[in-house]
């Protein structure tokens, strides 16, 4: 298992969205080490060292989690609830990814303890800028608690 410091955990079911996100993060060297998981169940296993990630060093926590809300199996809100209610993970900042700021899930996410959200726009340039700003803030400006 990797022991390299994890900068960002990206939980996103769309591989294309994930690739574009990672691309945006890596551009300008905002983040170089990103772990991408395709669904909520995998994210929970990873965070709590279960199943496939049984052997993982749980001390190696991501600096920020980018969490898509709409996912198969275990959706983003369920994952978020587990993260914010478990001592092990509740201090990790969570940024929610959503298609629209009007989505009712955004409000629920805030209530469950999300720290921020990003609207995924069609316009890639805008998306890239948003992800870039977010990465700089959470990875470089925000001192971890």
């Amino acid at each position: 298992m990797e022991n390299k410091e994890i900068e960002i955990l990206l939980v996103e079911d769309s591989i294309h969205d994930a690739e574009l996100t990672i691309h945006a993060l890596k551009k300008n060297n905002v983040a170089s080490h990103v772990i991408h998981l395709k669904d909520g169940a995998a994210a929970l296993d990873f965070l709590f060292g279960r199943g496939k990630y049984k052997e993982r060093n749980l001390d190696n926590k991501p600096k920020v989690i980018l969490l898509d809300l709409k996912m198969p199996k275990v959706n983003g809100l369920e994952v978020l609830e587990k993260i914010t209610t478990n001592e092990l993970t509740q201090k990790i900042p969570v940024v929610v990814l959503t298609s629209s700021k009007e989505h009712p899930d955004v409000e629920k996410a805030y209530k469950l303890g999300a720290n921020s959200y990003i609207v995924k726009p069609v316009d890639f340039e805008n998306f890239r800028k948003a992800v870039n700003d977010l990465g700089i803030y959470w990875l470089h400006l925000n001192q971890s608690l």
Partner: protein, 472 residues
């Protein structure tokens, strides 16, 4: 007497004793009477001597009378003759008297007859008298009564005099009134005629109404059936309406998730096209790069379209929060945002606008859409001018935004506010055809109206009205 003595010797004795005593008394009485008679005869003798003396005197008287008688006889002869004549006169007179007597006797009889008649008449009169007395008594009573009545009548007469005066006055009044009534009567007569005319008209009208009534009854029966039909249809419609509400909600959530799901592949198309351009542009020739740009542009356009659609569908669900909105300030803010983001060629004049009670966010959206339209469609003018103003009219506030741009044909004005309706080519003017539909929906939900006036090449003016007083 003897018998009595024999039968009653005591009684008879007693009686004879009594008889002897009585005879003794009588004899005494007779002796007294004879003494008296003797004295009487003595007295008479003296008287006779006196009488003889007187007779000597009387004889001398007689001798004188004898002479006187001779004288007297001669006078009697004369008187006899006179008497004989008188006798004859008296006989004549007697005859006349007989006749007269007869006459008198007749008259007597007549008188007797008359007398008996008179007796009857008398009786009658007596009866009548009595009656009259009775009547008189009654009349006295009646008289009194009449006297009383008379007084009463006098009183009454006085009263009547007063009443008469009153009546006289009333009479005059009545005459006046009568004169008035005559006039009124004429008037009534005229009105009567009019009413008769009217009555005959009403009879005709009545018949007409009767006919109409029947028609209406027929119609009512038809309506009753139609009503039942409508009630049935109403129920169907209510059922249908509730079905539609359910379907609408389903459709809303469907369109919402569809637009979301559409955005993901679109992001991929756009994003990877950019990555392609950035990393591999050297591998493309100029035509290849042009085609790549078309892909990007269309992906972006589709993104905007989906965003607009989402905004439009959101508006149907969104609750309107009304507050006092300074429309002047709002329009100026929108204008300033435009000025900040693009090179604004147009001269925009915002007059002082009426404040209104509305949803600020939605009003902002209205100005954004209308102003961007005005800017867009006047961009080709040599000197674009846009004017924004408002006025108060019949309890409504009417806002207008006028430009001097390309305008449009009023023939298509009805299509202006429909979703995806466009009056211009996308090549000339960008747009998704949702903007005005959105504005229309916002204004309608505020209880207002939107309309436009335009001429091709002469600009367009958009108007929208909002109620002055809010109905919440």
């Amino acid at each position: 007497m003897i018998k009595q003595l024999k039968n009653t010797p005591d009684n008879a004795l007693q009686e004879s004793i009594k008889e002897v005593a009585l005879q003794n008394v009588e004899r005494g009485k007779r002796e007294a009477e004879l003494v008296i008679a003797n004295k009487e005869l003595f007295f008479q003798n003296k008287e006779k001597q006196k009488r003889a003396a007187e007779l000597v005197i009387a004889n001398g008287e007689l001798a004188f009378q004898k002479r006187e008688k001779g004288k007297r006889a001669a006078e009697l002869i004369i008187a006899n003759r006179e008497l004989a004549f008188q006798n004859k006169e008296k006989e004549k007179r007697a005859d006349e008297l007989i006749i007269a007597n007869k006459e008198l006797a007749f008259q007597n009889r007549e008188k007797e007859k008359r007398a008996s008649e008179l007796i009857i008449a008398n009786k009658e009169l007596i009866f009548q008298n009595k009656e009259k007395e009775k009547r008189a008594a009654e009349l006295i009573i009646a008289n009194r009564e009449l006297a009383f009545q008379n007084k009463e009548k006098e009183k009454r007469a006085n009263e009547l005099v007063v009443a008469n005066k009153e009546l006289l006055f009333q009479n005059k009044e009545k005459e006046k009134r009568a004169a008035e009534l005559i006039i009124a009567n004429k008037e009534l007569a005229f009105q009567n005629r009019e009413k008769e005319k009217r009555a005959s008209e009403l009879v005709v009208a009545n018949k007409e109404l009767l006919f109409q009534n029947k028609e209406k009854e027929k119609r009512a029966a038809e309506l009753f059936i139609a009503n039942k039909e409508l009630a049935f249809q109403n129920e169907e419609k209510e059922k249908r309406a509730s079905e539609l509400i359910v379907a609408n909600k389903e459709l809303e959530s469907f369109s919402y998730s569809v637009s979301h799901d559409l955005r993901a592949p679109l992001r991929a198309v756009n994003g990877f096209a950019i990555l392609l351009e950035e990393g591999y542009s050297k591998l493309f020739d100029e035509e290849g790069r042009r085609l790549l740009h078309i892909v990007q542009e269309n992906a972006n356009k589709m993104g905007v379209l989906i965003d607009d659609l989402l905004a439009f569908s959101r508006l149907g669900k969104k609750e309107i929060k009304k507050s006092r909105v300074d429309m002047t300030e709002l329009a100026e803010n929108v204008l300033n945002e435009f000025k900040a983001s693009l090179q604004l060629k147009a001269e925009v004049n915002i007059h002082t606008l009426h404040a209104v009670t509305a949803d600020t966010t939605l009003m902002n959206q209205v100005w954004v859409n209308l102003l961007s339209n005005a800017i867009k469609y006047s961009s080709n003018a040599r000197k674009p001018v846009i004017a924004i103003s408002s006025e108060q009219q019949n309890g409504e506030l009417i806002y207008s935004i006028a430009d001097n741009g390309v305008g449009f044909s009023m023939r298509y004005a009805h299509k202006l506010f429909g979703v995806f309706q466009r009056l211009h080519d996308a090549e000339d003017f960008e747009g998704t055809g949702v903007g005005l539909a959105l504005v229309h929906r916002i204004i309608t939900r505020h209880g207002g109206k939107i309309w436009a006036k335009a001429k091709i090449g002469k600009g367009a003016t958009f108007y929208f009205s909002l109620p002055e007083k809010t109905i919440n």
